[in-house]
């Protein structure tokens, strides 16, 4: 039984990171209708930036959250304006190819700049852990989960209780009506993309204290983010959060009780089944109009 709770806890803790990265992806999809295949690479860039800042300034990575967020909001905005925006009126394959190209570009760029080596950050609490009711909680993982939760709550508050947040949601639900309300859609595209990218980067940041940074680190996370988003229903923020935790748990339970090397198999099988039988997402069709 202890093992079971440990398994579930493991799943939830990693699910928090998936949730942040995937929420960014779903936001971009909702507003711009772009499937961003470079989401994992933006996460990777976030990890590198965090790593360098933390080493350079000697500051704990979690304290850099705000700074990293600001940097990537600006970066995301530029990427949208100068690249993504040029393809928005084209068929969706074009955007898919563009983001695929960007993914390869960022990966090789970081390879050129930083080399292929795995880098990590030594934080004092890296190997500390808490024991609660027979379940071990690794310190940095717990912190990462907490940062993820706080970030998601802040995002939720932003989307629900600010004018701008409401405007973003409005654009994602019905862009024609949003324009009629005087909401400038080009501005919304930029904002939504930069917030989406910021979330990927901060998701990466939360990983830095216990994970490794290397150019290809985002590949699997990017794929998982897609799985999460499809499970939750494209464009659905709440759905993304719930299914991220679910994916974490599926991964962890498959690893524990079936076979470790099949842990991704469980995730992908669930993904295909959901796509086919509930294409609107695992959760109820909240976006039906």
């Amino acid at each position: 039984m202890g093992t079971f709770f440990q398994t579930i806890t493991n799943g939830i803790l990693i699910g928090g990171v998936y949730a942040v990265v995937a929420t960014g992806l779903t936001l971009i999809f909702g507003v711009l209708n772009v499937a961003n295949f470079a989401q994992g690479e933006f996460m990777m860039l976030g990890m590198y930036v965090t790593l360098f800042l933390s080493r350079g300034l000697g500051v704990d990575p979690y304290l850099l959250t705000f700074l990293v967020a600001v940097i990537f909001i600006a970066f995301g905005y530029l990427v949208e304006k100068f690249l993504i925006h040029q393809t928005l009126s084209k068929p969706h394959e074009t955007q898919m190819l563009l983001t695929l190209g960007l993914a390869i570009f960022f990966r090789s760029l970081m390879m050129v700049i930083c080399g292929p080596n795995y880098q990590s950050l030594a934080v004092p609490y890296r190997l500390k852990s808490l024991l609660i009711g027979g379940v071990l909680l690794s310190y940095p993982r717990l912190l990462s989960f907490l940062v993820a939760v706080v970030l998601i709550i802040l995002l939720w508050l932003f989307l629900n209780y600010t004018e701008l947040g409401r405007a973003i949601r409005a654009s994602s639900q019905n862009s024609k009506a949003a324009t009629l309300m005087g909401i400038n859609s080009n501005w919304m595209y930029g904002i939504a993309f930069s917030i989406g990218i910021m979330l990927a980067a901060v998701g990466g940041l939360t990983l830095v204290p216990f994970y490794y940074v290397f150019p290809d680190v985002g590949v699997y996370f990017g794929l998982i983010a897609f799985v999460v988003v499809v499970l939750g229903g494209l464009g659905d923020v709440l759905g993304a959060i719930v299914s991220a935790l679910l994916i974490g748990i599926i991964e962890s339970v498959t690893a524990q009780y079936v076979a470790l090397d099949l842990s991704h198999l469980g995730v992908f099988l669930v993904f295909i089944l959901v796509l086919v039988f509930r294409p609107q997402g695992l959760l109820r069709g909240r976006r039906s109009s």
């Binding site: 093992t3 440990q6 398994t7 493991n10 803790l13 990693i14 990171v17 090789s108 390879m111 080399g115 292929p116 080596n117 795995y118 880098q119 990590s120 030594a122 890296r126 190997l127 500390k128 852990s129 024991l131 071990l136 690794s138 310190y139 940095p140 993982r141 216990f210 994970y211 490794y212 290397f214 290809d216 680190v217 699997y220 996370f221 998982i224 991964e251 962890s252 690893a255 524990q256 076979a259 470790l260 090397d261 842990s263 991704h264």
Partner: protein, 407 residues
């Protein structure tokens, strides 16, 4: 882009390929040696370490008078990035073979890559010295393949032997063994060796887990191993996973005896990311720098020193191996007194090195059997002591003591 520009671009590309393929570099005096390494892609960590070592060795050879039998000819190194995509690596090998008159080819330690390029070198009749450990490399009937390092299946045996040794020396109650390995060629073959020897020694294998490379979370793995009640764990991993597993174990307050399966467990990055928690960890390895015979050989000491100076760490496993490979090839060229690849291949079958950097492999002797395998070689066991890997086993290779740190 206009039609004409694109057409021009295409034409230029084709011309470039043609030019590229017909120019061959290198003056008469030089001996051209190729190197295949996974310089980019997800296996680039090992590829770059190996490539750096070969470059260093070539530098040292040329500095110390080159190939004496050929009147001091310099070695001219031609590096090919095989990438981590093996279909690409075949093409890269072919290019190196074609565009140069190679006397030999060195290959860094990735089994898949070595297996993929072997037919090209076989057809081109160029001797290939690889640090890859796959068991079948020298049993496929290739005449130009030389494997100078231990085979994957030996690693497990060495680990299990070492456990037996620990058990007797410290009177350990170690009976429950867990084997975890990354689901790659390297992990698979090493794990197989461990399994066979554990069974032979009568250790009880309580769980055996393959995990996907670069996984995001080691917690399920550690939870599983702990639940199985393992007191000894044999992990086989590259760096990320090695440190992830160990840090997760420490964080989860689970402290079995860890005997790593080489690679990630003995590379400098492991200590860099784990710090003092790496202390006391054991691992098997293809090569370690501080064996008795290495430290007593001036040429090897020079090698180790020059590496430390350049890269600020001790000389890691794959670097040492590739440095050694370069010298083995050099000795063969000296013996052949020729730059002809087939002559050098024949010389390689006859070399018997007992001193110098060409004999850096344990037990200080390099000699190939009829299949092209260095028949004397065996792996070593190291222990992390004060941020450095120290050879601790087999006892005939070293005088170092085990620091008993079963926390």
């Amino acid at each position: 882009m206009s039609r004409r520009t694109t057409g021009l671009l295409l034409a230029l590309l084709m011309i470039a390929v043609l030019t590229l393929s017909t120019t061959s570099i290198g003056a008469v005096k030089n001996v051209d040696v190729g190197l295949l390494a996974t310089i980019s892609g997800d296996l680039s960590e090992v590829g770059n370490m190996g490539a750096n070592a070969v470059k260093l060795a070539v530098e040292n050879i040329n500095k110390n008078g080159g190939i004496k039998a050929l009147g001091g000819a310099k070695i001219n190194l031609i590096v090919g990035d095989t990438t981590s995509d093996f279909s690409q690596s075949v093409l890269v090998a072919q290019r190196l073979v074609n565009n140069n008159k190679l006397s030999g080819m060195l290959g860094a330690g990735v089994s898949g890559m070595a297996l993929a390029v072997a037919p090209v070198l076989e057809k081109a009749k160029i001797p290939f010295l690889t640090a890859a450990i796959a068991d079948n490399l020298t049993t496929l009937g290739y005449k130009y393949m030389f494997q100078f390092c231990p085979k994957g299946s030996q690693f497990g045996g060495m680990q299990a032997d070492f456990l037996k040794y620990l058990q007797q020396k410290f009177n350990l109650p170690v009976d429950k063994v867990a084997i975890v390995y990354e689901n790659t060629a390297y992990g698979q073959s090493t794990a197989k060796g461990i399994r066979d020897l554990c069974e032979k020694h009568g250790f009880n294998i309580v769980t055996e887990e393959a995990y996907p490379k670069n996984f995001t979370d080691a917690a399920p793995l550690v939870t599983k191993v702990r639940a199985a009640g393992a007191t000894v764990i044999f992990p086989v991993s590259y760096t990320t996973d090695a440190a992830l597993i160990l840090s997760t174990m420490t964080a989860m307050n689970y402290k079995p005896v860890v005997i790593g399966g080489g690679a990630g467990f003995i590379w400098p990055e492991f200590y860099r990311s784990l710090g003092k928690y790496a202390e006391g960890v054991y691992s098997v390895g293809s090569w370690s720098w501080d064996t008795k015979f290495n430290l007593s050989d001036p040429e090897v000491v020079e090698a180790i020193k020059s590496w430390e100076k350049k890269y600020k760490t001790f000389m890691p496993e794959i670097a040492g191996e590739m440095y050694c490979a370069t010298y083995i090839l050099k000795e063969a060229i000296e013996l052949a007194k020729s730059t002809d690849a087939t002559d050098i291949r024949n010389a390689l079958t006859k070399v018997k090195l007992t001193k110098g950097a060409g004999a850096m492999m344990q037990p200080g002797i390099v000699e190939f059997d009829e299949y092209g395998w260095n028949k004397h070689v065996h792996p070593t066991i190291i222990q992390w002591q004060n941020g450095v890997v120290k050879t601790v086993y087999p006892v005939e290779d070293t005088d170092n003591e085990i620091v008993w740190a079963l926390k």
